[in-house]
Symmetry: C2
Subunit: 197 residues, 2 copies
DNA sequence: CTCCTTCCATACGCCTCCGTATGGAGGATG
DNA sequence: CATCCTCCATACGGAGGCGTATGGAAGGAG
């Protein structure tokens, strides 16, 4: 919010998309508004409409930027452990924990989920969700489940992730905190990854 | 949407809250707007501001009405089976399936979740969530889990419910349909209710 | 030094929604 | 029949957001 003191040179389109992503995480899609963003950047609409055709162009740019950044993150946290079981646990633990990031990560998820029917959001969200779901499914498959059952578990795990993020955001008082939260997530992962023979 | 032809008598506050709930389910909290609602009801703002102090009063009324209706629903679907296991399964199956109602039920959930930080929404949502969570926890307790573990399972089940609703709404193409969905929910419930000794 | 391109501020018109003021139709009541 | 109370339409002012028009500063090219 307060980072417009240093550079008094010209603004780039990148600055606008960064600010848009920030606003998106903070106040949802509706917060990507030209005039408030201009004020936050210490500029005016004149600057914006030189870099972008209209508000939709900014939204599209922010979404694409997020999708890209998200892909890198997922991929980066993917291949870390040799064994499938630990990889799965590590991944789940990371995403269930990283929800906390008030600005950076999880908030964008929820903001987009909240406006999933928006014409610009829907395709992006569908691509990201499908990619994650496929990856989750592949892990459960490697773990020994059939294609169908692996898909079931993938869907369940992803739904649990989404719902967990929602709960952490909307009613944090009902969710454990600190070490208790850590333990809760452990047991949650245990339930999600247990395979009954 | 199209149900304003019959009665040309005076509008009641109830009509306004009903329309507000409908708009909420359809377009989120932002869709509870006085002038559009007036148009939809075939009236003008003059009518609205006679029955309500302002927009917030209407929102509050709609939320209270939903909370009431929701309580009745939950309670009604509670005590149906004698055995705890089947009661739990029945409850989960019902809520995981009833998400579909495009207007009546699940959409309000998602709309409120999407604007959970709103000053009027937050308290209502917290009460409803806490009540449901407590009930779920009590069922798992009856099933033989300790208080702490029952709470874990309750949280997981509720998170799965929320996430499942989200997925059904935002990316329905990635979720099974028809009989496949029914089977998926069966297996999902199986995973959520299995207790490892 | 001049000109042209880049970048942006100012100012405008438009739309949508909120809330208020005011007056009036129509049934109830004496 | 006159009056009052209920319910609502019309009209207004204001706020905030989008997009456009226009002119001007600032620096590189010639």
């Amino acid at each position: 919010m307060a980072m417009a003191a240093g550079k008094r040179e010209s603004l780039s389109a990148n600055d606008w998309t960064a600010a848009a992503l920030d606003a998106l995480a903070r106040g949802g899609l509706g917060a990507i508004a030209v005039e408030p963003l201009a004020k936050a950047l210490g500029a005016t609409k004149g600057s914006f409409y030189w870099h972008f055709a209209d508000r939709n162009a900014l939204i599209a740019a922010a979404l694409e930027r997020w999708e890209q950044r998200d892909t890198e993150r997922v991929i980066a946290t993917t291949d870390q452990a040799p064994e499938v079981a630990t990889r799965l646990r590590n991944l789940l633990r990371l995403v269930f924990t990283a929800v906390l990031g008030d600005t950076g990560t999880g908030s964008v998820e929820l903001a987009l989920q909240a406006t999933a029917t928006h014409p610009l959001v829907a395709p992006t969200l569908a691509r990201v969700t499908e990619r994650r779901l496929d990856y989750l499914t592949s892990l459960f498959t490697e773990l020994g489940l059939s294609r169908a059952r692996a898909r079931d578990r993938g869907l369940l795990a992803y739904a649990a992730f989404l719902g967990h993020a929602q709960l952490m955001h909307s009613t944090p008082a009902l969710v454990p905190t600190g070490r208790a939260l850590s333990g809760h997530i452990d047991r949650l992962i245990e339930t999600l990854t247990t395979i009954e023979d």
